[in-house]
């Protein structure tokens, strides 16, 4: 393992007389993980940016081909690890469409799914804002954000049993109903949220240093954003109101009232404002979910082909035991076909293209990670800026490398 295997080959960049090549990352505090940027610089000015990805390539898509449909769900949650629920939901929706059971998912399960999606969106934006703040030297923001995120992780832990990868959303519904005391905890979060958002906005929104660093930095026009395939808040900050929740509703999103915040400036500050507005919108959806959650109901589809029998019946009924054993030891089979399903993750359009050949395992699974497409815009907006501004751009595009490299 010599150093030549780490550094990029010199022919990647066209080095001229006045420029030098600088390797930024993969271990760099501002690259939000393991991104390497091969920069061609002329003094402090960036002439060319070459993002080098793959330092977190995990082979998740390939590994899923060897697992049952339900087992693969645990792996997909590790892709976008800031918003595991959005991966889980997207995968579950795709498999449900292949199975043809989309219409039969219980109402309560759908409400809780939307609730989880929006909670995870806020949690993800909390990490983005905290780390973006640190990149720009505003360290207090991090503590406020992670305090809020901690409340959401407590909720996830209560529902699914784990803080970060709860594996709560399953094909056919949910792993179980919300536990006792969950709604009271949720109410406490709803009460706390507006005050915390006021504090966050107060810390940064009118902060002259923050504005100096972000306004007119990393400008992305609407045409460029579309050309690069950018989605999510980064696209909406450039003036295009594309949101999968509105364009192709799923899990009953068409029944909720919410706005799609947009800006027209397309710079890092606009992306910051759009994300903050999105957090407010997410909370308004959560409040609507909360009102609908008072009515009890089933959270798993009533279909023995997909849903395991209730745990308490296993010790009492021979049939339930056999049924449970069959489902756990060989899974269920999915009819042959292919499907593309997208959801609006915190970073944009997250999609799964899944091919089934009728077996109990996916034949091929391909992810459309929002971060990968958003990140490549860096090649376009990076040149002509200072190195320090590049840090702002990476932060404002909010890439997650679990998702980029998979």
């Amino acid at each position: 393992m010599t150093s030549s295997s780490v550094l990029p080959a010199p022919e990647i960049v066209s080095q001229t007389e006045n420029t030098m090549v600088l390797s930024m990352g993969p271990q760099h505090p501002s690259t939000h993980g393991v991104l390497q940027l091969v920069l061609e610089i002329e003094s402090e000015n960036v002439v060319k940016v070459d993002p080098e990805i793959g330092y977190l390539h995990t082979g998740i898509e390939k590994s899923c081909e060897g697992l049952f449909w339900t087992q693969a769900q645990t792996l997909v949650e590790r892709m976008d690890y800031l918003a595991p629920e959005s991966n889980a939901l997207c995968y579950a929706l795709a498999v449900e469409r292949l199975l043809g059971i989309t219409e039969r998912i219980p109402q309560r399960a759908q409400i809780v799914r939307v609730l989880q999606m929006e909670l995870t969106r806020i949690a993800s934006h909390c990490v983005w804002l905290g780390t973006h703040g640190i990149d720009l030297g505003a360290i207090s923001v991090f503590f406020y954000c992670f305090d809020l995120r901690e409340n959401i992780l407590d909720l996830q832990e209560a529902a699914g049993g784990a803080r970060m990868h709860p594996n709560y959303v399953r094909v056919g519904g949910l792993n179980g109903d919300l536990p006792d005391g969950y709604l009271a905890q949720l109410d406490a979060l709803i009460d706390k949220f507006p005050g915390r958002m006021r504090e966050l906005r107060g810390l940064l929104q009118a902060n002259p240093i923050f504005q100096d660093r972000t306004i007119d930095v990393g400008g992305l026009s609407a045409e460029e954003a579309v050309a690069w395939g950018v989605t999510g808040p980064s696209l909406r900050a450039s003036g295009i109101a594309y949101d999968v929740r509105k364009a192709f509703p799923y899990s009953g999103y068409e029944t909720y009232e919410f706005d799609v915040p947009t800006r027209t400036e397309g710079d890092a500050y606009a992306r910051f404002l759009v994300r903050l507005d999105e957090m407010d919108q997410a909370m308004s959806i959560i409040e609507q979910c909360r009102k609908r959650l008072d009515a009890p109901g089933p959270v798993m589809i009533d279909d023995p082909k997909v849903a395991p029998p209730p745990k308490e019946t296993i010790a009492l009924s021979m049939e339930a035991l056999i049924h449970h054993f069959k489902l756990m030891s060989e899974g269920f089979r999915v009819p042959p076909g292919d499907v593309y399903q997208a959801v609006e993750g915190p970073r944009g359009e997250l999609g799964y293209y899944i091919v089934s050949n009728g077996e109990n395992r996916p034949y091929r699974m391909r992810t459309r990670p929002a971060s990968l497409y958003n990140l490549q815009a860096l090649k376009g907006i990076g040149p002509g800026n200072l190195i320090a501004d590049l840090v702002v751009m990476i932060g404002s595009l909010d890439p997650v490398f679990g998702e980029v490299d998979r």
């Binding site: 780490v6 993969p26 330092y55 977190l56 995990t58 590994s63 305090d147 679990g402």
Partner: protein
Amino acid sequence: MTVSPGHFMLARLDDVARWAQSSSVWPLTMGLACCAIEMMSVTSSEYDIARLGSEVFRSSPRQADLMIVSGRVAQKMGPVVKRLYDQMADPKWVISMGACASSGGMFDNYAVIQGIDTIVPVDVYVPGCPPTPDGLLYAVNLIQQQIREGGRGGVVASA
């Protein structure tokens, strides 16, 4: 406080040095995957790793004492991790955080290194996927204990 000639403490110089060293274990800023988010959580006000004197995350390996390998290490990242470890000044410690770093975890495939102890010597393994911040705090505690006792070697941080 008035110090009269009768007030003094006796200690071995080694013990004092180890006490000082164990109270300022500075980790390297190296986030890899999911565990890195929990590694960030330990610095938040809820867990506050500053109580252990380890809140000073250094971006340069030259200034760091502790490498927290937080997440799965891809084959491409392996040489980088090794190089960063080599760049750290002695004495140095390594925490293998989470199932992936310790053994490859659920990713038993072509892309992930099956345990970083094949690249760098590990002092403490933390189980979990990802481990809770409490788990990581306990691991840092174990590192401190090892420093005070003057020893090292793979310890599993589980009850």
